[in-house]
């Protein structure tokens, strides 16, 4: 009897939960629908009400305008270039450090590890000014190196990859060491290939972080041709003004493609990344 009433009760409440979830999903997704359908409207109709959430017209001109009036190809290319270089470079720096922390006993290991880990908690406001001065002193202001070099260090990534390497049995690489392999060969041929799953998780997290970065390009890049997509979009907004919202939204729509692809193909790793960083806390 009690079991029966419990089941009935559950069914009823689930319907309400479902309705609420559909409303939430609508709230989350409608802005995207509006962005895309408005980007296909005539510029003078961008603000016409009622708003459309599904394309009513297909004016591709907005997309063409974005490319002809600003170096938008450069924005896209710069974003892709910087994000890929950082992701690859960071993976190398991270995995080399993780190998040393997980496989070699050396003086100062624990202290160094704790100091690097504490880097996770440092707010960027307390590093940005000296970073700016270093970048200036190195003579790389307004170049992509100013965005790439500071991003190569990723303390959380070092922590996660080290944790993963610790789970790989030592017997694999010990055997190679006894056979006379150098430490670099052990890292390159054994540990690095075996820790690829953790490196992918970390790479996807930093790919998204880098792709979406706004603060650093804002401070370090001033030439149009060198800007990344997020910064370029704010320039586009200032340049086009409120007269052609649909053209600005065409630019916004283009910027959504990469995160969408990353979500579709990398969600398994995004979930794993969240699981790992969540456990850390």
């Amino acid at each position: 009897m009690s079991l029966f009433s419990y089941k009935k009760n559950k069914k009823k409440s689930d319907a309400w939960v479902k309705i609420a979830m559909f409303l939430v999903a609508a709230f989350m997704l409608l802005p995207f629908c509006w962005i895309i359908s408005t980007s296909l409207r005539l510029p003078k109709e961008s603000f016409s009400l009622p708003p459309s959430f599904f394309p009513t017209s297909f004016h591709i001109e907005n997309y063409k305008r974005v490319f002809t009036e600003l170096p938008f190809f450069n924005f896209i290319f710069n974003s892709i270039k910087i994000t890929i270089v950082v992701t690859v470079g960071q993976s190398i720096v991270t995995s080399l450090a993780a190998y040393a922390f997980s496989r070699i006993k050396f003086k100062g290991r624990n202290v160094l590890f704790i100091i690097m880990l504490s880097g996770i908690m440092i707010p960027y406001q307390s590093t940005i000014i000296p970073k700016f001065l270093f970048v200036k002193a190195l003579g790389i202001m307004d170049t992509h190196l100013a965005l790439i070099l500071p991003a190569l260090i990723h303390p959380l990534g070092i922590f996660l990859v080290r944790q993963f390497m610790l789970t790989i049995p030592k017997s694999y690489d010990e055997a190679a060491y006894i056979d006379g392999a150098t430490r670099f060969r052990i890292y390159w041929n054994i540990l690095l290939p075996m820790s690829i799953p953790s490196i992918i998780v970390v790479s996807i997290m930093s790919f998204i972080m880098m792709w979406n970065d706004f603060m650093n390009p804002l401070i370090f890049i001033s030439t149009y041709e060198k800007m990344t997509l997020p910064l370029g979009l704010t320039v586009l907004k200032g340049y086009m003004g409120t007269g052609s919202v649909s053209a600005i939204l065409a630019g916004v729509s283009i910027s959504l493609i990469t995160p969408l692809l990353i979500y579709i193909f990398g969600q398994k790793y995004l979930m794993q990344g969240s699981a790992l960083s969540g456990i850390k806390g």
Binding site: I128, I129, F134, I178, M271
Partner: protein, 307 residues
Amino acid sequence: MTNNKNLKLKYTKNNVKDTISAYLFLSPAIITFVLFVAGPVVLTVCYLCFTKYNIITPTEFVGLDNFIKLFDYPVTGTIFKNTLKYVVVLVPLHVIIGLLLAIGVSKEVSGRLKYFFRTAIYFPSVVTTASVAIAWTYLYNKDFGVINYFLNRLGADSIPWLISTKWSIPAIAIFSIWKFVGTPFLYYLIGIQNIPDSFYEAATIDGANKLQTFFKITIPLLSPTIFFVITTTFIGAMQIFEEPFLLTNGGPGDSSRTIALFIYEKAFKSYQMGYASAIAVILFIIILLLTLIQFSLQKKWVNYDYE
């Protein structure tokens, strides 16, 4: 055989040669860490905040002047108060809404719908903040914006979202929830999926009702995740920058200006690098102290037994 054993020991033994090779492996990480993380923090905290520096003339040591100046300007009070408002609004909302959404999605039986809900809630978290913030400035438009259109249809008056001192922070908070609630949501969802079904079955057999299972099973078992979400959203809200920068530029007046935005403006618009550093140091200390307090309080309520 003994030779092998010696080598095996040597592989993880502490000696000079190993220390050298370890530091070789670590050199790229150490160099970038010193140049772009540790060095900058030390420079900000120990040197720059006590100086006057505008890039052109050499740095000048001014002692505690920058910190004293903080109390002279009324705007400092405003930006600290505004940042506090963001923290007080955003942390509880992220913690609670994220949890409710995760419970809602975990209740869904159909796999496809579950996937759809998860994607809808999480997707805004991966898109570029700058680009969607630009789109939201139009959604928030007082006369032509979609949000006011719907409010009017529902019989409510138009709200001057981004152009009134009263509504600028709520507008930014709503955007921020839409943009970022997916992150805590995903942490919770993973946490809930890790709770074994047998716990709930046992509770049901013992006659516990839904509210009891929620407070006696779900919440205690999720407490490490809840703690993690509180800590990370707190640190994020203390440093909120892009949202006010792109939606209101801190305005109207100073009504939505935050500490992080103020530091950016002082450092890179008016080049008062020393003054900006002093504010950054205070922000750093506040974040550090409150994070430490949270860590010491967690022993009282966070439950790690089931991990």
